[in-house]
């Protein structure tokens, strides 16, 4: 187990390095720099800035220095947010994104699996059609459309929930963003669960369970759920990536101080260190997440058990 973990972690290093290199040079290749603005800086001031941020060194030296800093856990200073280091920004933004994404994932799993299972049990009957129709909507309506609509209804017209901001971080402020972020995933997970549940319910071992006189809920919960969840678990990796990209939009619409906003703003502002920081951080996070998904898979499926 320990060895496996070590192997996986070591194996992730080349992936991360490639990611870092590609991101580093791509953002540098983009025209314009962090200090370009409509009011051009006098050359002497720009020179001061470039020197202070080590932008006047040859590119490969900058890269090596970035790697060296990174190895020490230092993401560098942000170009855009002058008072903060990238590490600080990530540290302040990530808990919000994590809460948002974690809750959305949880909601998506609970709703998606429940809806999918119900649909599978009532295959081709009204509940099935209802779940499928709703999930089709969830998949096809993008969350940058869904989010303003929900805000309009629940915040502006009904006045039940705030229209944005984190406030005190309570559920009232998170409810709508979490729902918007979860919705496409709920839809996907519901369809996935339905499909795999139908397949599992047709399998021989379910026939065995039925022949043993077990009640339907025992069969579904004890016998069918675990195997039916395997595709859902495999989908968690892509789902996490989807949540990350989704959070970029959701955090902006709801004015939440998460990590997603930094990514887009960092890129637009050519805030090299911030973009790099977010890319590296998310890259590492996705690698870690996939590792956890593998562990979960092993836990669910005794055939690959540790």
């Amino acid at each position: 187990m320990l060895r496996f973990t070590l192997n996986r972690l070591l194996g992730a290093i080349p992936t991360l390095l490639i990611l870092i290199a590609v991101a580093f040079f791509l953002i540098r290749m983009a025209p314009g720099g962090p200090f370009d603005s409509e009011r051009q800086l006098p050359p002497e001031i720009e020179a001061n800035l470039r020197a202070a941020y080590n932008l006047d060194a040859p590119l490969h030296q900058q890269f090596l220095r970035y790697l060296a800093d990174l190895a020490r856990g230092d993401f560098g200073p942000s170009f855009q947010y002058r008072d903060f280091t990238v590490t600080e920004l990530i540290a302040s933004g990530f808990p919000v994104s994590l809460r948002l994404g974690g809750l959305a994932l949880l909601l998506a799993l609970v709703l998606g699996v429940t809806a999918g299972t119900l649909a599978a049990m009532r295959q081709n009957r009204a509940p099935d059609y209802a779940v499928m129709a709703v999930s089709m909507t969830g998949i096809s309506v993008p969350n940058f459309v869904m989010a303003p609509l929900l805000v309009l209804v629940f915040a502006v017209l009904l006045g039940w929930l705030p229209a944005g901001g984190l406030g005190d971080g309570g559920w009232r402020h998170l409810l709508l963003p979490v729902i918007c972020l979860a919705l496409p995933q709920v839809a996907y997970i519901a369809r996935l669960t339905r499909g795999s549940m139908i397949e599992v319910l047709r399998s021989h071992f379910i026939r065995t369970a039925r022949a043993q006189g077990l009640a339907m809920h025992t069969i579904v919960l004890r016998h069918a759920l675990k195997p039916a969840l395997l595709p859902v678990v495999s989908f968690l990796g892509p789902a996490a990536a989807g949540l990350i990209t989704g959070s970029v939009v959701i955090e902006q619409i709801f004015g939440l101080p998460g990590l997603g906003r930094y990514f887009v703003q960092g890129a637009l502002n050519r805030d090299y260190t911030l973009v790099m920081g977010v890319v590296v951080f998310y890259g590492a996070l996705i690698i870690l997440f996939n590792f956890l998904v593998d562990l979960l898979y092993g836990w669910l499926d005794p055939r690959v058990k540790a």
Binding site: R39, I45, Y81, R82, L152, E251
Partner: protein, 547 residues
């Protein structure tokens, strides 16, 4: 991609808004605003404003954005302050004297002024602050604002030490500033955040982290108490402020909301008392539903198209430049495209007190007359209809710019038969393309004055000025600008600047389109809000009425 998504979102939202109409959020004014007398104050004096993009820093010497400026104005106080009518009044300085030659300003600091931690504000603090502002180590983007002060330019360039700056603390309460050349707008400059004082012990203790909540000590009406990046900034009244007795609002929340649709929604739910902007797509709806809360006022900025005069077809072809300008129906543009009440522009400097706009003769013609003249000039320029001219127009990716560019291209097509290829570029790419002047022919641009003086506009097209992306280089114009820069007599200086503008409009390296306006929503219970051309609002002047 990103902005495309957002604009799609906006379209859907707009549709929803139209159908949804007015909700309970707008109808909950049960109590008459301001109580029975109309002037009763609310119990909770908390002001919540939308504040656009997240400020890059709250260090007044390093901040450059409008949004950081909004906050800095509440936290800090300069020697002088701008009044809504554009004049300058004493602030941290009680009074001042100006020497005969206009080169030495002596400020009498307010007695009893204190920092937000209770320390007295001394002339030494001001000296420290101004030196810090120009010190290259401070990495101040905007250090050039202080160039009029003697020695500033050399210090910024690293050629001289910061203590060579022409500033002296004559005593605890007297500050002397010597200028390199007469600068009539110098008192106006002192309203800019670059001239704000910083608390020397805090700066020394916290260095780069000086501007964080908890570290920042300031001399304005408010002090910073909380800063959650991307979420909010909170300031509360500074009990040590010299004029604290007059301050009404106890607490200000600045929300960074860079998406105006989101800002509008939060305004409608009552989470905001004031928006920073409104989206032009929402203007129609707002005018129908929230007209009473919609405040539009002129702003010190010009939206224009720059023409690259260093290359064909604009090089040496004044007729073509004028023809293109006259072919544009600016009324159509301000009424149908920009749509927030912008003012059609035929000249360069926006209308401000103490300056006469230099309108060309054709500004007074009918559009039909202008078009006829445009056709004549076009023919004269050597571009007959048989050999159609193809132009490329670049603008930074944005829905409003695109709509405007499309309209203008069709006007050019219709009046002159000129074909225009539109090309949008992401902001930073756009800036670089423009600056290189290699391929650019026509580019979109806008200029907002840094301080309330025509010079901030005039200077832009000086041949040596860094931001002159048109490449315009007129000896006559440069000479007029240079002379005006050194002219101490206000009347003569004004005449020089006005003549420079006449030269400019005659040469027409730029096509002015309209003068900007500020458009925002302000709740009816926000008292003391006075629109002004610099769009500067001090929370200390505002109050919340009972509602």
């Amino acid at each position: 991609m990103h902005s495309h998504r957002l604009s799609l979102m906006g379209a859907v939202l707009a549709a929803a808004l139209f159908t949804a109409g007015c909700g309970p959020a707008e109808q909950r004014t049960a109590v008459p605003i301001g109580g029975a007398s109309g002037a009763e104050l609310a119990e909770r004096q908390v002001f919540r404003r939308g504040n656009g993009a997240e400020p890059e820093t709250l260090d007044p010497h390093r901040a450059t954005s409008v949004t950081a400026g909004n906050i800095a104005r509440d936290l800090f106080e300069g020697l002088t302050e701008m009044t809504p009518d554009g004049s300058v009044k004493p602030a941290a300085a009680e009074s001042w004297t100006i020497s005969e030659d206009s080169l030495v300003y002596t400020f009498r600091l307010r007695s009893g002024a204190r920092w937000s931690n209770g320390d007295p504000v001394t002339a030494g603090d001001w000296l420290f602050s101004l030196r810090r502002a120009v010190d290259p180590a401070t990495l101040s983007d905007y250090a050039a604002i202080l160039y009029p002060i003697e020695g500033a330019r050399a210090i910024v360039a690293g050629e001289a030490a910061p203590d060579t700056l022409g500033v002296q603390a004559l005593d605890e309460q007297t500050l002397e500033i010597r200028l390199a050349a007469p600068t009539p707008y110098f008192l106006g400059l002192l309203t800019h955040s670059m001239s704000y004082p910083v608390h020397p012990p805090s700066v020394e203790r916290h260095g780069e982290r000086y501007a964080r909540a908890g570290n920042l000590v300031s001399n304005g009406a408010y002090q910073l108490t909380e800063w959650v990046v991307q979420s909010h900034i909170r300031a509360v009244r500074n009990p040590y402020y010299w004029n604290d007795a007059e301050t009404v609002i106890n607490e200000v929340w600045y929300y960074p909301i860079d998406n105006q649709d989101a800002e509008l929604r939060r305004y409608r739910t009552g989470e905001l008392d004031m928006t920073e902007k409104v989206s032009s797509r929402q203007v129609d709806w707002i005018q129908r539903n929230l007209a009473d809360e919609f405040v539009i006022s002129p702003y010190f900025g010009t939206y224009y198209y720059g023409l690259n005069v260093t290359r064909a077809p604009f090089q040496g072809n004044r007729e073509l430049r004028l023809a293109l300008s006259m072919a544009i129906d600016r009324d159509v543009i301000t009424e149908r495209i920009s749509g927030t009440g912008e003012i059609p522009a035929y000249s360069w400097v926006p209308p401000i007190p103490g300056y006469t706009q230099q309108l060309p003769e054709w500004a007074g013609w009918t559009q039909a007359e202008r078009e006829a003249e445009a056709r004549r000039l076009f023919e004269q320029s050597g571009h007959a209809a048989e050999s159609p001219l193809v132009l490329e127009l670049i603008y930074n990716t944005d829905d409003n710019h695109r709509r405007l560019a499309t309209a203008i291209a069709s006007m050019w097509q219709e009046v002159l038969g000129v074909e225009t290829r539109l090309s949008n570029q992401e902001w930073k790419v756009f800036l670089q393309t423009r600056r290189e002047r290699r391929q650019t022919q026509v580019f979109r641009s806008g200029w907002i004055g840094d301080y309330l003086d025509a010079f901030t506009f005039t200077e832009l097209l000086h041949s040596t000025y860094g931001l002159n992306d048109t490449g315009y280089a007129s000896e006559r114009y440069d000479e007029l600008v240079d002379t005006a820069a050194l002219e101490a007599d206000p009347a003569r200086r004004r005449a020089l600047l006005e003549e420079a503008e006449r030269v400019l409009i005659d040469d027409h390296p730029i096509i002015p389109l309209y003068f900007y306006v500020t458009a925002r929503l302000v709740k009816p219970w926000v008292g003391g809000y006075v629109p002004n051309i610099m769009d500067q609002h001090y929370t200390k002047n505002l109050y919340i009425l009972k509602h």
